[in-house]
Symmetry: C2
Amino acid sequence: MKFIKNFEISIKLSPMKRKITLKQIARELDVSISTVSKALSNSKEISEDTTKKIQAFAKLYNYKPNNIALSLKNRKTKTIGILIPEIVHHFFSTVIRGIELIANRRGYNVIVGLSNESFTKEIINMEMLANGSIDGFILSISKETLLKQDYHHFNATINQGMPIVMFDRVVNEVDCDKVIVDDFNGAVKAVKKLIDNDCNHIGLITTMDYVSVGRLRTQGYVEALETSGIDANSDLILKIDDSLDVENHLEILENEIAQFFKTNKEIDGVFAVNELYAVTAMKVARKLGLSIPDDIQVIGFTDGVLSKHATPSLTTVSQHGQKIGEQAANLLIDRLEASDAESDQYFTNDERKTDFIKVVIETEIIERESTK
Amino acid sequence: MKFIKNFEISIKLSPMKRKITLKQIARELDVSISTVSKALSNSKEISEDTTKKIQAFAKLYNYKPNNIALSLKNRKTKTIGILIPEIVHHFFSTVIRGIELIANRRGYNVIVGLSNESFTKEIINMEMLANGSIDGFILSISKETLLKQDYHHFNATINQGMPIVMFDRVVNEVDCDKVIVDDFNGAVKAVKKLIDNDCNHIGLITTMDYVSVGRLRTQGYVEALETSGIDANSDLILKIDDSLDVENHLEILENEIAQFFKTNKEIDGVFAVNELYAVTAMKVARKLGLSIPDDIQVIGFTDGVLSKHATPSLTTVSQHGQKIGEQAANLLIDRLEASDAESDQYFTNDERKTDFIKVVIETEIIERESTK
DNA sequence: ATTCGTAACGAAAACGTTTTCGTGTTAACA
DNA sequence: TGTTAACACGAAAACGTTTTCGTTACGAAT
C-alpha cells in the first residue's frame, strides 16, 4: 500500500496515528471521496467489490467521521447546552445526571456552563455557546438575573431560533418550555403533615422573595395553615438573606435561627425551604436543649445527602431532580427533532406563544426521623 | 437595503432573526466575503470607509462568527471533555467547578460525559467525543475499568494525538499528565492526629483494594501506626464491598460497622476513607451509646457537605477538589497550546514518555467537633 | 447501427470561516 | 509616456463531510 507523504512520515516517527479522513482513504484506494463516503454508508451506487475494499480499509484504520464537519454540514451539533447557577449542589447535579442520561440515550452530548449566580456570566456563557456550539439550551436562571428581572438574553437567543427549556427557576416573561417542581403543593403537603402531627406553632425558614421557588414554598406554607384554620403569624416566618452564600457564613445562619427559636418558644414544628436550613435548625434546636422530633418536628425541602445522613435523618420534600432533568432533555430534543422534520411549519406559526409546555413534577414526602 | 430572498421572507413572517453569516453581509453590502472577513478583523488591507460600513452593519445584525466553522478551519474546538464516573458527588462536582473556572477564563468550554462507573459507557463516551468534538480529555477512571485493568481506550486516544489529563483515580499504565491527591500522606496525617489525641486502638473503615485511592489511604493508615510503634491489627480494619452502591444499601453499611464496633470494643478512634463511612460510623457509635469525641474520635476523608453539617461536625482530610480541577485544566490547556505552537516538536520526540507531569495536591486536615 | 437503460463512479457544491495569492486601478516617479 | 508601487479588493483553497447531478462504458433492445 502506498501512502501520502505526511502520513507516512508521521507513522515512521512515532506510533501516533492521526485520525484518518475520507480524503486520505480515497487517495490510498485511488477512488474519489464521494465513492468512499457512499461505500461507507452502504450506498448501492457502489459495487460490492469496491464497497468491501473500502470498508475493510476504513475499519483497519479505524475511520470515524469527523463530528465537526458533520455539524457544519448538517447545521446541527447534536449537543445541548446546560447553563446552571452552581454545580456543587445536590439538586443541580442530579438534574444534570438526568439530562445526560436522556441526552446520551438519544445521541446528544451535553456541554455545561456555570453562571455562578451572576447575571454577566450567564450572558457571556450564553453568547459563547449560542454561536453554533449547541442546538438548544436547558437552563435555570441565576439569582442576580432574577433580581434584575432582565431577561432579554433569553428572548434574544430564542429569537435566533435556538430553543430553550427552563427548569426550577423559571419566569413568565420568557416564552419557552418549562419544567418545574410543584413547590407550592410540596410546601402545602409538608406543612399539612406537621399539622396532622399535632404541631400547633409551625415556623417557616425561607429565603427572600425574589427567588421564585422560595416565594412559592412560602405561599404553600401560608395556604396550608389557612385551610386548617390557623392564621399565619409573621413572627413565625424567618427570612434569610442569602445574597451572600450561606455555606461560608454558617454562624450567621445559626445565630439567626437561634434567635428565632428563642423569641418564639412556642414553636413545635419547622418547615424549611431547603435542606441546609432544616439541618441547621435541627442542630440549633438541639443546642438549645430541644429534642427532635419530640419537642420540635422538622421538614425540609430538597432531598439530598444531608437529609439522608443527618442525625436524626430529615423528613423532606423530594423534588426528583433526575426526573426534572430527564423531562427537560426530552422536551428539548423533541423540539429540536420536530423542528428539523418540517423546518418552517413550527416557526412560521404566529400563535406559537401558546405552544409551549410547562411540565410540573410532583413532589413526594420522604418520611424519616425528624417527624413523628 | 436589499435582502436576499430567504432572509427577507423569514424576517417578514416572524421576528426571528437567524444568525447572519459573512456571506449574507457580503451580499447586502456588495462586497466579497473576504473583504467582510478582513474588515471585521480590522485588516489594513481594507479601506477605512469600507471597514466602518461593514462593521456597522455587522454590529447592527449582531454578527458573531460561527464556532463550528472556526473549529473546522482551525482543527481545534476550544472545548475540553470531562469524563467522570458520577456527577452527584461532592468531590467530582467540585472538580468540575475548578475545571470550568479555568477553562472559561482561558476561552474553553467543557463538555461532560458520565461513565457511571461502567467500562463500556466510558469507552462509548470517549469515542463519541474523540471524533473532533473536543481538543483533550480530563478524566477519572471508572471502578469497572480499574477492576478490569483494561486501559487500551486511553492509550488509543492518546495515540491519536489527543492529550489526556487524569485526576484522582489514575493508573501507571497510561502515559499522560496526572493530578492526584496525596492520599497516602493525607491518611498518615489523619491517623497521626488520632494517635496524638491519645487514641490507642484506631480502627480503619476502608474500601476494597482495587480502588487505588482506598488502597493508598489504607497504606497511610498502616504507615502512621508503624512509625508510632504500634502494629497494625487486621481485626481493626473493616473493608466495605462497595461494588454495589452503598447509598442505597445504608443498612448493610450500618450493620457492618455496628458489628465492627461490637467485636472491637477497645476502639477509641476511627479513620474512614470517605465521608459517608465516617458519618455513618458516628451515627452507629452513638446508637451504641458511645459519645463522640469522648469515647471515640473520628476523622474522615473528603471534605463535603456531610462533614460540615453533621452533628457533631466531622474532622476531615480535605482534598481541595477545586484545586485539582484547576490544575488539571491548566495542565491540559498548556499542553494544547504548546502543541499548536510548534506542532511536531512535541510529538516527534521519542522520549516523550518522560515528559509527563504528575501534580500532587497536598491534603489538609480540617478540625471540627469529632476530634478532641 | 442507433437508441436506451443501467451500473459504477467522479465532480462539485454546500456548510461558514480565514488566509494566501492574485488583479485591477490609481498615483507617483523617472 | 512608460514603469512601478501602493492600495483596495476579489477568487479560491482549505478544513471534512454528504449529496446531487453528471458522465462514462457497456450490454440490450429496437
